[in-house]
Each structure stands twice: as C-alpha cells, then as structure tokens.
C-alpha cells in the first residue's frame, strides 16, 4: 500500500487529510471524534482575543443541484464563540492524547503587534504543531479590522506574518482569502513575511438564494440577511486555479501549499496535490456527511497511488503544475474533434441542440423512419470545444479525439496571425 504520511512545512501527519478550521474543529469533542475516524490533522477553529465572538441564528444556507445535492454552502458564522482559555486548555489535552496527528491552531487577532505578541506564546505552550493565520474570513470580522481586511492588503499580510515568525517558533501557515483579484499578490506577501506555507482558499463572498415570499436573501436572520462565505464542491474549480497560480509563480516557487476548497473525495484531493498541494483541508464535505468520509478518501487515494506506482505523495505532488501555462503558450495547431459512440448514445439530442443553438452547428440530427434521431458529428465543423461532451448525460459517450493536423507546434506568441507575434 502507498505511504500516505507527509511532512508539510515541517509538520508531520499520518495522512494529508486535515480538517479545515471551522465547526468540525470547534472543540475537543469534535476533534477527538475526527482523530478517531482517522483524520491526519486538524486546524482548530480560529481563536481570537476575549471576549469571544457572538454568533447569530440562522447561519447557513445552500446552493442545490437538481437532485437537491448540495453544491455549495454559505455561512455567516464568526470565529470561535468560546473563550480563549477553554480552547487552549482543550488543545493542550488533545495534542497530548494524539501526538501523531497534526494539530494546527488558527488565529485571528487585531492587526496590532501587541495582540500577536500576547497570544502567540499562549498557543505555542499548548504543544500545537503550527499556527494558521486566518486572514480570510470574509464577513463580520473585517468590520473590526481583521480577517479579509488584512488578507486583502498585501502589506498587512506580510507584516503580520513577520510578527508571527518573530514571536513564535512554530511553522506559520498563512490562509489566503479568495476575495481578491490576484491571489499571487497575497501569496508573495506571505512569502516575503517569512511564511512557512500558505493554505487556500477560505470562503468566497456569496448570497446563495433569495426567499421570494419574504423577499430576503438566505441565510436570513429574522427579516434580514447579509452576505456570507461560500464553500463546498462548487468552489473547487476556483480553489484549484488559485492553487495552480501560486504553484507556478516563480516568485513563490517551493512555498508549501495546503489545498482547501470543495474537497470531498480522494480524487479531489489527488487533483489538489497534483497541482502542487502538500496537504489538503476539508470542511463542507465533513459537515454534510460526518467524519467517516476520510475512510473512503484514504482508501481511494492509496489504491489509486498503487495503481499508478506512486509510493508516496511526493511522487506525484505538483506533477500537473508544469503542464499548466498561460493561454499564449498553448499549441494553436492542436486539434480535437468530438466522436460519438453510437452504441453508448441514448439519443437525448442534447449534444445536437447545444451545438446547434450555441456553438458551431457541428452535430447533425438525422431523423429515422421510426421518428427517433441519430446524432452525428460533422467533423469539418467541429472546433473541439467539448460542449457536447459536457452536456451529454452518458459518461464517455462522446470522446474528444485528437486529429493529426500535420502542423508543427505553434503558440500564439509565434503565430503570424498575432500582430504582436515574436519574430525569431
């Protein structure tokens, strides 16, 4: 069996599956249950200065798919609503009882040196393996000069990271907010401040829906609402891109990345690792299904690694980064076209109408004597956009087949059709 253990930013863990700082890691009771279930580590629910935050009711709302599967959830919770003292006591005990698991403490205190200087020794005294700086919480806290407010100002990120490195010997992970235009700017700032790693993404500003009877957005608190933070499966594509952006940024090359956002299966995790993550964190999937999901994640990942001959995570970590590039470096002469497996096709016509109405009119609908239709790709019209494959309800029914154009590799930088092309 493949070895799932990791050393991430100097922190050891038996597997790369950590619970993100959130309700699942709110207190000893949850964290112990998570460790019993097999999680490799946890990032304790964000601590702050006393008095503890106060939460409202209700707190979550969801964006659903057609079968009421939860695509994403939105929350308006704040950091821990329990006192610092209780949290620190519990952290100390849990770390003592579970020495082999990674226990990271998430922190958010005001952006003044004094505050950090005060809290860091207390955290270090718990025996925790590292700290994570929550600069990302996109609601509530910013109004008090913390959270996203810090995460959105690169100078603050750098400054706070540096204080932490100064007043604490533990590895410092900087958790990034996605609510900015270029994630690399924040990662570079953390890097300059001396961060041992970055973790991303925190939640994305969102409103999931509106109650049209009451004319109030969700989740609602009485007759009012406010925007919250979006997470869960729907944010995975955004998180993956941000992870890749940092992984391939020369300025932060080698900076360990902890991938977060929409991870619910071993495959999700493997994708984050392939794009440069050394560990992953999970929140929503655990909130929806409980801690037991880690079992299938571990089993699936190690079986897949075995099938690929990867003895450990380093064997494939970052392997997809090199293949991620800027648009201008893509091969303009590369061509795929759709090919329909007529045996697998169930005749729903979705590929046809999608291409006909919104793409390149490249799928012919051939009416049969019995009134049904056969769908055929018109090779010459197909531009290889993948839309038909995406809308086809039958997996693997439409294959995008590479065609030999006979033309050499040519990127837009060198394409004569580009008015600014590079002339050799």
């Amino acid at each position: 069996m493949a070895d799932l253990s990791i050393v991430f930013a100097g922190i050891k863990a038996p597997n790369p599956f950590w619970l993100a700082s959130a309700p699942p890691t709110d207190k000893a009771y949850n964290v112990v249950r998570a460790f019993e279930a097999g999680w490799g580590g946890v990032v304790w629910k964000t601590l702050g200065e006393d008095p503890a935050a106060v939460n409202v009711s209700s707190r979550y709302s969801a964006h659903y798919g057609a079968n009421r599967e939860v695509l994403g959830i939105n929350n308006i919770e704040l950091i821990t609503d329990r006192s610092l003292e209780i949290n620190l006591r519990e952290i100390t005990q849990v770390k003592k009882d579970w020495p082999d698991r990674a226990l990271i403490v998430s922190l958010m205190v005001p952006c003044v040196e004094e505050s950090w200087k005060n809290i860091l020794p207390l955290v270090e005294a718990t025996g925790a393996d590292g700290i994570e700086l929550n600069f990302g919480c996109p609601h509530g806290m910013p109004e008090r000069g913390m959270g996203a407010a810090v995460g959105q100002v690169p100078e603050y990120v750098e400054q706070v990271t540096r204080w932490c490195k100064t007043y604490c010997s533990l590895p410092v992970i900087v958790k990034l907010t996605p609510n900015i235009t270029d994630i690399r700017v924040a990662a570079r700032a953390a890097h300059r401040g001396g961060a041992d790693a970055v973790s991303l993404i925190n939640t994305i500003n969102s409103i999931t829906s509106v109650d049209l009877d009451r004319m109030v957005a969700l989740p609602s608190v009485g007759s009012q609402s406010t925007h919250g933070g979006y997470c869960g499966s729907a944010v995975k594509p955004i998180a993956l891109n941000m992870v890749a952006e940092i992984a391939r940024d020369p300025q932060t090359r080698g900076l360990p990345i902890c991938g977060i956002g929409g991870i619910g299966s071993w495959r999700d995790a493997a994708e984050f690792i392939a794009l440069g993550s050394g560990a992953v964190q999970v929140c929503t999937a655990a909130m929806l299904h409980g801690f037991r999901i880690v079992e299938e994640m571990k089993d699936g990942l190690s079986r897949w690694m075995d099938s690929q001959g990867h003895a450990n995570l380093q064997a494939f970590s970052g392997r997809a980064v090199g293949n991620t590039t800027d648009w201008k470096y893509l091969d303009i002469n590369y061509q795929v076209i759709a090919k329909i497996d007529q045996e697998a096709c169930i005749g729903c016509g979705r590929c046809h109408i999608a291409c006909e109405d919104t793409s390149h009119q490249a799928i012919a609908s051939l009416k049969q004597a019995d009134g049904t239709h056969v769908y055929e790709v018109i090779d010459d019209e197909c531009v290889g956009c993948n839309l038909c494959q995406i809308t086809c309800p039958v997996q693997d029914c439409i294959e995008m087949v590479t065609v030999d154009t006979g033309k050499p590799f040519l990127d837009w930088n060198h394409d004569p059709r580009n008015p600014y092309h590079v002339t050799a």
């Binding site: 005749g347 729903c348 109408i353 239709h373």
Partner: protein, 455 residues
C-alpha cells in the same frame, strides 16, 4: 342488474375490502416523489418520448416545469396538447408509449422516467382557479359531435376554444365514453371521468344532449343539414361473437357489459361473482376483466387465449398485473363448446388445443374441459353498424368495418369527420382518441375559417 349472471351469488367480501381492492392501482406521487422523479428527466431535444406520445405532449417541458415548482405551468402544457391529460395519465399503457421511448429506458440506463405519474401529478395538483383556456371570439359556427367519449369530448373542447358552438349527441345517460363505462375501475377512481368532464366543459360553448342515438332517434343527414360540421366519435359499441351455439346462455356475456355495470355500481358487494370463471381474449380488456373478477373475490380465474403469451395484445405490464392477481394465463386453446348444466346455465367450456404449423394456427384433435360459472368474452370490440343507417350515413366509406378517414380525420362525406375507435386509423387507445378529436377540430376549424374568408 347483469341479467346473464342473475343466477350467481354476490361477492362474499365485505364492502371495505372490496373498496380497497378497487382503489388506485398506481397511487399518486407526492410532491417529493414528483420532484425526485422530475429530476431524472434529461430534458431531451426532439425527445423520443414526445414522438411516442400519440397526443404529442411536450413532456420535457412539462417535467421541467414540475421540477421548477411550476405545477400549473406543467398542467397547462399537458392540457394544451391533451385536454384529457388527467385520465390519459392514469390509463395510458405508458410501457408501450412514452415511457417505452424514454431514453432512460435504454439498456445502458436504469428505468424510464415515470412520465405518466408525473403527468398525473401536474394535472391533479394544478388547482386552477378558472378554466385554463380561453374561448376565441364566437364564430357563429355550429358543430355537431356524436358520442361523448374521449374523441368527441376532445373535438368539442378544441372546437369551443376556436369560438364555435358545439352540441354533443350522446346515447347514454353519462358522458365520458369508455372512461366512464369501460376502463378498469382501479385505473380511474373517485368518479374521475365525471370530474374531468366538468373541468372540460368549463370552457363553455358545449351542450350535451343525452339519449340521442345515431341510427335510432338521430340521423346523419339531419345533423349534416343543421350544423356546419359533424364529428363522429362513436367508439366500438358491439362485441365480437364467438360463433358458437349457446352463446346466449345465462352465464356467458361480453366482458365490456360486466365492466360497465361494475363501474357504475355503488356497492360492489351487490355484484354477481363467478367463483370459477373463464375470460376469453388476449388484450387489455381481457386482463382488466380477469383482474377485476379476481379482485371481486373469484378464486379460479382463467384467461384463455388461442395463441402464445408473446402474441397477446396485452402488454407485459398488464400480464404482470394479471399474474399478481392470481389470474391463470392459459394459452394455445380455442373455445369449442359452451358447456351447460341441467338448468341451462353455463358450467364450463370445452377447448381444443392449438399449435402452429408453418406459421398457421392449427386446431388439434385434443380437447379439454374447464369448469366455470361464467364465461366472459373479451375477444374484441366491433363497430356497431346500426348507427349508420340513414342515406347519408350509408354513403360513408368503410374500412375493415370501421369508418374510413384520412390523416385530417375527414370521412368520405365532405363536412363529416370521425375519430377514435370507430375509425380505421391508429390504435384503439384513449390518448389516440383524444388526439383524433383534437386534430379533427383543427381540420374543421381550418375548413370553416377558410369558408369564412372565401365568403
């Protein structure tokens, strides 16, 4: 009172048990089930299910409406194509129509979308505050419809919608045709045919005159003279005969005759029940008869057919219902003789074994007797010629005994249209009759409006 069976005892079951046995065969979906099922629909384009629905209901669209909590929109979509969408949802053999064609019925998939159940859900839960269709400005044209079955009612509704005034001439006391008098009781419960009729008449402009029988107190010549167009939706009022002696003996009757009484009975425990009975036939009517007799309490129900199971007109789904009700399906046996007891009542039937020889059905020498207290004929319905006796009616061209029509439902007599079972076109199904009525109304309207423009 069912005269040929007056010598038989009544059902031994108590009324509550009987009522339960004749309640909804396929119970309705609740909101959650409907939502789950609707989410299985792929919203196909040029959807095969629509192609397979004789009334061309836009199935993907109505299901998407259900899924988006727009139940009224769904119902309106259904009813705009099929004004009897409620009863069709209950009686259509979906397993050979829309659901057969559903792409999710493909071998690579799981099971078809339950289109019929969703259709019922939409129509049952739409709760329109008024009739959902508006009549066009009145045209002053008058249309006679003969027969208030699905075909006639559909034609009347669509014609009224186009602004014409409609008079329906119906022989029986109640309208609805076989929806009222023929469909298995557990498929259309709670007086649905009459409730649907009330809804349909809600459009206005339709008058029904009962006790009016074409060929008796009504002639096609008169109607043709008095109205701008005539639509015949006469159904198949006659039952096919076995051609055996003693066919009139007490204990032997047409299945449709019994079902008619069954459907009208307020108290099922007052119906005569043949503890041992034989149903002759192979279609859905035969199955309906056998199953209903079994549910009334008969313990020994034999459905006998002269060919094999695979040749039966009844769908596999219907055959399964029969088997689940302990109906025995006996194949390869041909009725030879009605067996009578001393009192002259049916006491059984003699059959000859049959087999195929070079593709032809051959009646062998071997015979066997099956005891029975009653024999029900369900070997098919036939057009009742007595309806077409006046001079103009006799001019109507016929095909296989039925009225010949073209694809616009026009008969050979200009201004006279026909649809449903009484025509030679398409299958004998409720939904097909509705489609005929609708198309005939469109053809009539096009013709009448053409005449208006020309005038």
């Amino acid at each position: 009172m069912i005269q040929p069976l007056s010598h038989l005892p009544h059902s031994q079951e108590d009324p509550a048990t009987l009522a339960a046995r004749f309640s909804d065969l396929a119970p309705p979906l609740n909101a959650r089930q409907a939502h789950l099922e609707a989410s299985r629909c792929l919203y196909c384009y040029d959807a095969p299910c629509v192609n397979a629905c004789p009334s061309e209901i836009d199935i993907p669209s109505f299901i998407r409406n259900i899924h988006q909590d727009n139940v009224q929109g769904a119902a309106q979509k259904i009813l705009s194509a099929n004004i009897l969408g409620g009863s069709c949802a209950r009686v259509c053999p979906t397993e050979v129509l829309c659901q057969q064609a559903c792409v999710r019925n493909n071998a690579h998939e799981c099971a078809p979308v339950l289109i019929g159940s969703l259709q019922r859900y939409a129509v049952d839960n739409a709760h329109f505050s008024g009739h959902p269709f508006q009549r066009a400005a009145t045209t002053g044209k008058r249309i006679a419809v003969v027969g208030a079955g699905p075909a006639g009612l559909s034609c009347a509704h669509r014609s009224a919608m186009h602004g014409h005034d409609v008079v329906i001439f119906e022989a029986r006391d109640k309208a609805g045709g076989l929806n009222e008098y023929g469909i298995a009781k557990y498929k259309l419960v709670d007086d649905y045919a009459q409730r649907e009729l009330d809804f349909l008449l809600g459009i206005g402009g339709i008058e029904i005159r009962h006790g009016q029988r074409l060929g008796e107190n009504l002639s096609l010549s008169d109607l043709h003279q008095q109205f701008d167009a005539v639509f015949l939706g006469l159904g198949l009022a006659a039952s096919k005969q076995l051609g055996l002696s003693d066919e009139q003996a007490p204990g032997l009757l047409a299945a449709t005759e019994y079902i008619r009484e069954l459907r009208q009975a307020d108290d099922l425990s007052q119906l005569p029940v043949a503890d041992r009975c034989i149903v002759l036939g192979a279609g859905n009517t035969a199955i309906d008869m056998a199953v209903q007799m079994a549910r009334l309490g008969a313990r020994d129900v034999n459905l006998v057919y002269r060919r094999g199971l695979e040749d039966m007109g009844a769908t596999l789904h219907e055959q399964d219902i029969a088997k689940a009700n302990q109906v025995r399906l006996l194949t390869w046996a041909q009725p030879q003789q009605v067996l009578l007891d001393d009192a002259g009542h049916v006491c059984g039937m003699r059959f000859s074994r049959t087999h195929l020889e070079n593709g032809r059905l051959v009646i062998g020498a071997e015979t066997f007797d099956l005891p029975a207290d009653a024999i029900f004929k369900a070997i098919g319905q036939a057009f009742d010629d007595s309806a077409l006796v006046d001079p103009l009616a006799r001019e109507l061209k016929r095909q296989d005994g039925r009225i010949l029509v073209d694809e616009h439902l026009r008969t050979s007599v200009p201004g006279v249209y026909a649809g449903g079972d009484c025509t030679s076109l398409d299958q004998d199904l409720t939904v097909q009759a509705v489609q005929h009525g609708k198309l005939a109304a469109e053809a009539i309207n096009a013709q009448l409006m053409l005449n208006v423009e020309a005038a």
